[in-house]
């Protein structure tokens, strides 16, 4: 039985991924993933190797934290995951899944995995490409990657991109199931995560970035209004993020069990 459910989950995920790749509505997500790569590439083309004002390590930390993590991955997860069920309801195709002899939780997990794979692959590749480009000047690349901490940085950034895709994805999967119009909760969550640096220490612990930022090798300057809190060590932070994603996907699976097909009412 377990084997059957795994096979069904993989089948749902594979079909969903195919649909993601075929649908035009995800173009915005591809653009968001490509944007930091293009920006850094354009900058290196314009300034060449004489960008003495730029500390690549700090610059990338800022690009990653403020654009890739808090904006690119967040918005992409909002766009993709709120639509995995809602999009099917609007397209009137959800019944095709619900008529399969599979537990509805299996369908929820399959759809979640497809969305997480899409966003994680796009943004881990984007993160890696942006970091590599940042150090593409003569001499800097080998000094950073072969003689310095480059590969360790790369692994940490990529890991955070992947974890963020998973946990934000799980949050938006649930929001997409719970709300017919996910716009308002998305905006609230965006504000909560974006301005978390200004929240009291107890509340900062209720944000996802609190657990992700300590994994990063370099912290970007959060500005004069930031409230400094004790960071959680990655040994605790990573399991907490994964457990949160698992819990949210489980709750989503529970919600899917009560979904009814009343397309006209939706």
């Amino acid at each position: 039985m377990m084997n059957l459910r795994v096979r069904q989950t993989v089948a749902v995920a594979r079909f969903e991924l195919k649909r993601f790749l075929l649908a035009r509505r995800w173009i915005g997500v591809y653009v968001l993933a490509l944007a930091p790569v293009l920006l850094v590439y354009a900058r290196t083309q314009i300034r060449g190797g004489n960008d003495s004002l730029l500390n690549p390590s700090q610059a990338f930390a800022a690009v990653f934290q403020f654009f890739i993590l808090r904006f690119g991955i967040f918005i992409s997860c909002a766009v993709v995951f709120t639509q995995v069920f809602r999009g099917d309801i609007l397209e009137k195709t959800l019944h095709l899944y619900l008529l399969a002899p599979a537990r509805r939780e299996v369908i929820a997990v399959g759809k979640y995995l497809a969305g997480a794979a899409l966003v994680a692959v796009l943004f881990t590749v984007s993160t890696a490409a942006t970091l590599l480009l940042m150090y593409s000047h003569d001499g800097m690349f080998s000094a950073f990657f072969f003689e310095g901490p480059g590969f360790s940085h790369l692994v940490r950034y990529v890991a955070v991109a992947a974890l963020a895709s998973m946990v934000y994805g799980a949050e938006f999967l649930l929001i997409g199931l719970k709300y017919k119009n996910p716009g308002v909760p998305t905006l609230l969550l965006f504000a909560w995560e974006t301005f978390s640096f200004a929240l009291p220490s107890m509340l900062q612990r209720l944000t996802v970035v609190y657990y992700l930022l300590p994994i990063l090798p370099v912290k970007a300057d959060a500005g004069p209004f930031a409230i400094v809190v004790d960071p959680v060590t990655p040994i605790f932070g990573i399991p907490i993020v994964l457990a949160l994603a698992l819990a949210l996907v489980s709750i989503s699976g529970w919600f899917v069990r009560s979904v009814e097909i009343t397309y006209s009412a939706d």
Binding site: Q8, F15, H95, Y97, L99, A100, Y263
Partner: protein, 317 residues
């Protein structure tokens, strides 16, 4: 096999969409064979089908399909095939890709999914168009793909919402043949249709719905015979219809006799068909009347529909 395990059972089922009634207090025990749901638009046919297939949950009561409840999704959907009214498909996929993917989600391995997709596509006559995108299909082709999807896993119960819509006469005949074979092998085929003459041809029994209520259920002859306020009409072609008309009024149950305009027959309305046929036989033998044809004139779905639902039905034809 216990009787409940071969029946589709609705036990006092009601479904409300907020304040709006879908169906109310439905009690059914449907035997294997072809069962047609008949009723005007908004009568509750699709609601009943969605309840049958677990896409809706009853507000009250319970549904049990051949011994399995919808809450046991893995067992339930293995034996149900549903060709829904929803004429929409995932964007960008071909007919073959859709069926193949759905078979994989059913749990078949890739070889089996592939084999089932190919077999069923051939069965519904879509081999040539199988690798074209569904978005480019005609209404009839989409209907066939929906049907293929519904039967690909060889279900025990086939539920079809307006399955003949969009099909040309040849395709209709082929599809009806598929339903008949299915039913003859002891399976359930539940069809909703507003094309009453086709319902008449293919159904073993009907369930008539109006405004969310089941107004009649059973094989059409027994439904018709229970409608005592509508005398049965019997169509007779014979010589000397005037003599027949004069003689049949010796029986109280005969309420009307109309001679055909061409003088070659008559239409009789009677409240007791059995005694009428006995009397008519005697009249024919005693008077040496030549009879060309005798047939019930309103023992069909259309007439029953007209009597029970009447012009309120509107959409049925």
């Amino acid at each position: 096999m216990a009787s409940g395990e071969r029946l589709i059972v609705f036990d006092n089922v009601s479904k409300f969409y907020g304040e709006v009634l879908g169906v109310n207090r439905v009690n059914l025990a449907i035997e294997p064979g072809i069962t047609s749901l008949v009723g005007p638009n908004g009568a509750g046919k699709t609601t009943l089908m969605n309840l049958m297939t677990g896409l809706l949950r009853p507000t009250k009561g319970s549904v049990c399909m051949v011994g399995v409840k919808p809450s046991d999704a893995e067992a339930f959907y293995r034996m149900i095939g549903y060709c829904s009214q929803f004429d929409s498909f995932p964007k960008g996929v071909t007919g073959y890709q859709l069926i193949n993917a759905m078979m994989s989600i059913h749990g078949y391995d890739s070889r089996e999914s592939n084999a089932r997709a190919n077999l069923v596509i051939e069965k519904v006559g879509m081999k040539d168009a199988a690798h074209r995108r569904i978005a480019g299909y005609s209404k009839g082709m989409r209907q066939r793909i929906k049907l293929a999807l519904a039967i690909a896993h060889e279900p025990k119960v086939l539920v079809l919402d307006e399955p003949l819509n969009g099909l040309d006469p040849m395709a209709r005949a082929e599809v009806i043949e598929i339903f008949r074979r299915f039913a003859d092998s002891g399976m359930h085929v539940v069809i909703s249709s507003h094309i009453l003459h086709e319902v008449d041809l293919i159904s073993d029994r009907v369930v008539m719905l109006s405004n969310g209520y089941v107004v009649a259920e059973g094989d059409i002859q027994s439904v018709r015979s229970e409608m005592e306020d509508h005398p049965m009409q019997i169509f007779i072609r014979c010589d000397r219809p005037s003599l027949v008309a004069a003689l049949i009024f010796s029986q109280d149950s005969v309420v009307e006799a109309k001679i055909h305009a061409d003088g070659g027959g008559l239409l009789v309305a009677t409240r007791n068909t059995d005694s009428f046929y006995r009397l008519f036989n005697r009249i024919v033998l005693d008077n040496h009347i030549s009879v060309e044809a005798v047939a019930p004139a309103d023992e069909n779905v259309h007439s029953v529909y007209e009597y029970l639902i009447g012009n309120a039905g509107g959409a049925a034809s």
